[in-house]
Symmetry: C2
Subunit: 123 residues, 2 copies
DNA sequence: CTCAATACTTACCAAAAGGTAACTACTTGC
DNA sequence: GCAAGTAGTTACCTTTTGGTAAGTATTGAG
């Protein structure tokens, strides 16, 4: 009892705890660009994530009230994931981050000079 | 050789790899609100982080070119951390995220009703 | 009677991350 | 010559996380 400081002191820490971590913001960003995505579609869009981890991230986002899970008991079953109203409030932040990402990416390619032709040649 | 797909396909993944992870965005946000912060100040602002992890995060941010490390060989030595120009480009995104965090925090407190008085009483 | 398809869950093991305590450097003050 | 103070580093150990493979449910197709 009587902790030395209030853990909820800072709302920033709280929101970061909900959306940070490997893959989580990337999942939110993918969902913010589509009406909804099925589990298999998300899995295909993020080739390096395993089903176990993807499930875990989605469950946590669901528990935070940022993602909605729509289970359709068809055969075989299909599950649609989409952002809740609250989750959609992250759209602008994620778009802003993507803009910065695109800018940095362009700057880095320019400075290195190479990349484009080499990458295509390697395929 | 010849991987099936280019890992740098998506700039979003790249930026997330640089700024995501436990404490990292929080450190950036703290630095974006001050000219600079010393190691000990950061440590005090984030009570639950250990020196080892804080050092690790700062070194990685430095390697990414987002944070500048200014070592002053005084006795005892002092080290000032600040955002680089590139790091400062995250300011708007972080402020946007903080706005959302504050809004959610206010909404959650309202719905729960309690919190404020109880929290203060517990101190 | 078995396979395929979707969206998982579970068990088990390996790898990564993090905590803690001790140690470093250097000079001033006692 | 010992402690204090800043900003670490290092070694060691524990905890957490993640990968992989197998199993679950249901039903239509072959």
């Amino acid at each position: 009892m009587a902790p030395t400081h209030n853990p909820n002191q800072c709302p920033m820490e709280s929101i970061l705890g909900q959306i940070m971590g490997p893959w989580t913001p990337y999942i939110l960003w993918l969902l913010s660009n589509e009406e909804s995505l099925r589990f298999g579609q998300l899995s295909a869009l993020i080739p390096d994530i395993s089903a176990k981890v993807l499930t875990d991230r989605l469950r946590k986002l669901e528990a935070s009230g940022l993602v909605h899970r729509d289970y359709q008991p068809t055969v075989p079953p299909t599950v649609y994931y989409s952002l809740t109203e609250r989750g959609a409030e992250l759209h602008d932040v994620l778009q802003g981050l993507n803009k910065v990402a695109l800018r940095w990416d362009a700057e880095d390619r320019e400075k290195q000079g190479k990349s484009d032709s080499e990458v295509i040649a390697a395929e």
